[in-house]
Symmetry: C2
Subunit: 348 residues, 2 copies
């Protein structure tokens, strides 16, 4: 199994993080990627650099205006006389703007709010190169998977909270959605995206909401009490041609291995019923009970059992890294997960 990784992912290192009315340490740090890379190397996995992200592939998921914003944001910000060290939005367009004929404002401060969903996606000088690098790993992994293999995209920043035209929750480009679209372009007739990050993959759901060819299933903390708050409820099932191709399995605070693995089994049964040609796995370690902002309470063994259960699908699989913020444990969890996944996938 190839691991895709690009050192430019380390160039994004924001500090601003507002939570419950307090400024806290930003948890989505470069040492997350370093810890996962070390674990991959300790497992003896081959690590390869991806090709640069194809702009045409990016445009399959994101709007041209949003991509232009991300590309130009730091330069425009740097031209302001009076500015902070990071671009942090403080106002976002609500549903009310739909009453008018609103278009993005011309100035960079307004555009920053327009193209972001929350304050948890600051933009720095290294953000766009890092987001491009992370997207490139996901696209490279998808190319491997299109050849019938399994691959791991060591993607950072993560992607599943990024919408077609909006960053959010540490995410800028939706790596998993990009991988799924790439698989479709490479000949997979049907693709499933399984998201086991503790937070609902609201961006990914939005990308595929109306699509019948890409199934989206997510096991996550109940958004009534956990980020991303507004999306990810059980009743959200897709629309139009995508009706029934979205499956949300929210879990209550403190859900343990039994609850988490039961929801996962339900998601896997639905994916089997959908009959995909390939799988994209949005893998987060934040369901772990060892997480700094733990909402779920999954054990180390739970991650191994999840890896085995997903491996038993025996699908060409692009594993795309999402969240997980405990630097001490995430390398171990990755090894446990991948070992079990690969063993189950290889079993005859």
């Amino acid at each position: 199994m190839l691991v895709f990784w690009d050192a430019a992912e380390l160039g994004h290192s924001p500090h601003f993080f507002l939570q419950r009315g307090m400024l806290r340490r930003h948890l989505e740090t470069p040492d997350r990627a370093a810890a996962l890379l070390a674990a991959c190397r300790a497992m003896g996995l081959a690590v390869a650099a991806p090709q640069p992200a194809d702009p045409v592939a990016l445009a399959r998921v994101h709007t041209p205006a949003y991509l232009a914003f991300l590309r130009e944001a730091w330069g425009a910000w740097s031209a302001l006389d009076d500015r902070g060290a990071e671009m942090v939005p403080n106002v976002h367009p609500g549903a009310e703007i739909l009453a008018g004929c609103a278009v993005p404002p011309a100035g960079i401060i307004g555009r920053l709010g327009w193209y972001t969903a929350d304050t948890a996606c600051p933009i720095t000088a290294g953000t766009w190169p890092a987001a491009l690098a992370a997207a490139a790993t996901a696209l490279a992994a998808a190319d491997e998977v299109a050849r019938g293999r399994v691959a791991f995209a060591l993607a950072r920043p993560p992607g599943h909270h990024a919408f077609p035209a909006r960053a959010g929750g540490h995410c800028y480009l939706n790596n998993a959605a990009l991988a799924a679209e790439r698989l479709r372009d490479r000949g997979a007739g049907r693709v499933a995206v399984l998201d086991i990050d503790a937070h609902h993959g609201n961006g990914t759901q939005d990308v595929f909401w109306m699509r019948g060819d890409v199934f989206f299933a997510s096991v996550h903390g109940d958004p009534d009490h956990y980020y991303p708050w507004f999306i990810g409820r059980r009743g959200e099932r897709g629309a139009g041609p995508g009706e029934g191709a979205t499956l949300n399995l929210p879990l209550p605070l403190g859900a343990d291995d039994a609850a988490w693995l039961a929801a996962l089994a339900q998601a896997l049964a639905a994916i089997r019923a959908f009959g995909p040609d390939a799988l994209v796995l949005s893998l987060g370690f934040d369901p772990s009970r060892s997480e700094p902002l733990a909402f779920l309470a999954v054990s180390d063994e739970g991650f191994a059992r999840a890896g085995a259960a997903i491996g038993r699908l025996r699908l060409p699989t692009a594993i795309v890294q999402e969240g997980g913020y405990n630097i001490e444990s995430m390398g171990r969890l990755l090894s446990l997960f991948l070992d079990a996944f690969l063993a189950a996938a290889a079993a005859s």
Copy 2:
């Protein structure tokens, strides 16, 4: 002319203010109200306490769910184990939620984001009582105006950025909209709202967007480069029965007396053409060149000339305080404005 004022307005004193990626001093402070009150007393104006705000009147502008949120917010926040000194939202629902069947989340953190438009409306223990008191001054002023008089609502926190179901930009209850609705209820067939705060009155526009009986005119800094960023462009003219009953006159950075007064004259001509029975004036002092975050460059004399021009409408007028953040100058500007307004209104 009666001035309405309630000391509970002083109980709201948030500190969090994020601007251009920096934490700064919050400018919407209780001493703003104290400075204006001192100016009113120095002018010899009678100051009266309003009746408590009528819940039925509040529900003419705001949704029951939003009013319940404001009423209950601090109690729910105080029950959290781990929280900051002020409620500051860090995530807001974007247009994407409309793709799902989104309803407000159950938890207070998610509801905080749901019911706010930006980070500039922190909620503290004293916020709801202060917002109620400010609304009460506007309703009391409207009652005076319904009797054919002129009144000044010394309202704080301000109101014109508050939507029917969303706080924003230092505003929680839309005092000017409440006054306009009260005037309609008290028999005014047609009401005009004129907003000369430097920031577009996005909340007020939204309240009356579809209404043909309330004309909304605003003279403000160009939202392409100034808060509230997303609404307030010239092309926004209302919709349905309200088409043509919204007039936006955005001005460029640094616009001086000549430009500002010309736009004001255009707004006044439109109001005359509309033929209202009463006027609500959203009065901000932030167009002043002496403002800490100045975008426009209006002189002291400009405010006197504006007062005279508006007074010449000779309409029963509820003057409702909005923004203005220079403590040193705002009392003087209020006196200059009111003196000229009252003289012009009284002239035969």
